[in-house]
């Protein structure tokens, strides 16, 4: 059973979103997602300063099995990326909700974050998918 922290927001495409105190959000992929993908070998991060709208593919997580897109959970501008992952992509497997974060983003509309799935809804989604 994968870990689904209560205090995060989620997307149907298995990204998690954490509301930070400074108004930005931190984005990563869920424990469920990293479990399905298997051992990470490469993480392709967006350029800081680039802008994306909700649903754009903005990063690629490449495991031994597949290279998968990461979709932008809310519209906004990339503020910072987790460059440590370029050398140590396995951190996404080891600590998906912590050191394995992918990027920080400044949302255009903070209301969009509230529209994402909560932990309960995401848990249901993963159960439906695996049943």
């Amino acid at each position: 059973m994968s870990n689904i922290p209560e205090d995060l927001h989620y997307t149907k495409t298995h990204e998690w979103v954490k509301q930070d105190a400074d108004g930005t959000v931190t984005v990563g992929i869920t424990d469920h997602a990293q479990n399905l993908l298997g051992d990470m070998v490469f993480i392709e991060l967006p350029e800081a300063g680039s802008e994306f709208t909700t649903g754009d593919d903005c990063a690629v997580v490449e495991s031994v099995k597949a290279a998968s897109d990461v979709y932008c959970p809310v519209s906004g501008e990339i503020i910072e990326t987790n460059v440590a992952l370029v050398e140590t992509p396995e951190v996404v497997n080891q600590d998906p909700f912590g050191d394995g974060w992918l990027f920080k983003l400044k949302p255009n509309d903070e209301g969009e974050v509230e529209d994402l799935l909560d932990a309960e809804a995401y848990k249901e989604l993963t159960q439906e998918e695996s049943s």
Partner: protein, 451 residues
């Protein structure tokens, strides 16, 4: 690997299992509007005997004889051993096998090919080949658009000194992908892309294509062009003749940082002219861009017992996994041609290849000198050349080519269609296969044709 067709009985069993009555039914989900029922220009069927006869007739349409025609495909001597070994049963397949790791010999050969290509180009990595030079350049452009994340413009600068057919292939492959190809004109005295003519402030450029030697056989100022590209955050794509690399500075050493991607036509490395194909394309790049490189890449590894083994690597971005987002929709290679090229390079070694390049250059220079002694022939460009040169004639090149063909000589490539501004210009080539006697015969016949 044996080819075992399914029997009627087996096909019926499979259909029964699937619960359908015919194979056609499996394609029902493709809308009728998208399906071609008939290919009107393709005959329905021919027997083996008819096909064999047709192909013999077609083969006779090829003009053969003393060949001074290059223009992208070059007649080099191919040691008999190359194809003797290539066509052995162990090698004789056009494909990387689907169960790739079961064919360690094939994978090792491709790995050796990649190693040789990286040495020749001084680049970090090579793939296991692409279809041909033109499509390799198109793939290199698509790769540059993916790899250059500083550029948003999807804008490629393409010198007119790049092979005209490559430019057409590139256009066909990239035109519907939102990529702009801007052509750069050439310096009329030098026949090269003058770095001084490039804009000081070009805006957002994704990549610059740099041919070496260029289509006219002329050497480009590759260092200045590469540095110009990098100064403007553009990638430098080298499009090179592999034989020439035995003598010329390899793309990995161009300018301050080296070219980012190197591609080209592999035919000169042991592949016969054979009516224009099959040939193979090659592509190498810097380590930083390896994940954007299309095609198959073979890696060396160790198995559980610590023994050396070869494997397909970096498959995660190929189309069986990434579908429409794959690095390429041509996820295969020219296995048999690559086999021949690897054996050719192994037999020659670096010194052998250098001798061939040097002799081809010397023969072309000798030919040029003798041609320029004739009345009615002038040099067109004043820059150094590798193994081709452009001369202008007192008569249209097409007429001269036709006349010499009647006498068993392939006189060269007529540039009038692609470069009308050059007048009656003829592109000629003399590889190491030509003797001084051959050259004298050509010069003599050409003098007669111009008299």
């Amino acid at each position: 690997m044996p080819f075992i067709p399914h029997t009627e009985e087996e096909i019926q069993q499979m259909l029964d299992t699937l619960g359908v009555t015919s194979i056609d039914q499996l394609f029902d989900e493709i809308p009728a509007a998208l399906r071609h029922d008939k290919l009107e220009n393709v005959p329905t069927r021919m027997s083996e005997m008819e096909v064999s006869r047709l192909m013999h007739e077609r083969a006779h349409q090829d003009r053969s004889g003393l060949c001074f025609l290059g223009a992208g495909a070059y007649e080099h001597h191919i040691p008999a051993a190359v194809w003797e070994i290539t066509t052995r049963g162990e090698f004789y397949s056009a494909y990387t096998p689907y169960q790739a790791e079961a064919s360690q010999g094939t994978l090792q050969l491709l790995y050796e090919f990649q190693s040789m290509m990286t040495q020749l180009t001084a680049m970090d990595v090579s793939n296991a080949s692409l279809y041909d030079g033109g499509s390799a350049l198109a793939e290199a452009i698509l790769m540059a658009v993916r790899a250059n994340r500083k550029s948003k413009a999807r804008r490629i600068l393409m010198p007119r000194t790049v092979h005209p057919m490559y430019r057409k292939v590139v256009h066909a492959i990239v035109k519907n992908q939102g990529i702009t190809i801007e052509e750069l004109d050439f310096n009329k005295q030098g026949g090269f892309t003058d770095p001084a003519s490039l804009a000081a402030d070009p805006g957002d450029v994704t990549a610059l294509v740099i041919p070496q030697p260029n289509f006219f056989g002329v050497l480009e100022d590759v260092d200045a062009l590469t540095d110009w590209a990098h100064q403007h955050n553009a990638l430098a794509i080298a499009c090179v003749n592999p034989t020439s690399l035995a003598l010329l500075k390899p793309p990995g050493e161009w300018g301050q940082q080296g070219a980012d991607i190197a591609c080209g036509e592999g035919q000169p490395l042991g592949i016969p002219l054979s009516s224009g194909g099959p040939y193979f394309g090659f592509m190498c790049c810097k380590q930083d861009f390896v994940r954007q490189m299309p095609g198959r890449i073979i890696g060396k590894t160790t198995d559980l017992d610590g023994k050396e083994g070869f494997t397909l690597t970096l498959q995660a971005r190929e189309q069986h996994i990434r579908r429409s987002k794959a690095t390429s929709n041509i996820c295969t290679n020219q296995g048999l041609m690559t086999t021949a090229a690897t054996i050719y390079m192994s037999l020659l070694g670096p010194a052998g290849l250098e001798t061939i390049a040097a002799n081809s250059h010397a023969n072309t220079m000798l030919l040029k000198e003798k041609l320029l002694d004739l009345n009615g022939i002038k040099a067109v460009f004043n820059r150094p050349e590798f193994h081709e040169t452009v001369v202008s004639l007192a008569r249209p090149a097409k007429d001269v080519i036709d006349q010499l063909a009647e006498e068993g000589i392939l006189a060269g490539f007529n540039l009038a269609d692609d470069y009308p501004e050059l007048g009656n210009a003829l592109l000629v080539c003399a590889t190491e296969t030509k003797t001084e006697q051959d050259i004298n015969e050509f010069v003599e016949k050409l003098a007669q044709a111009l008299a």
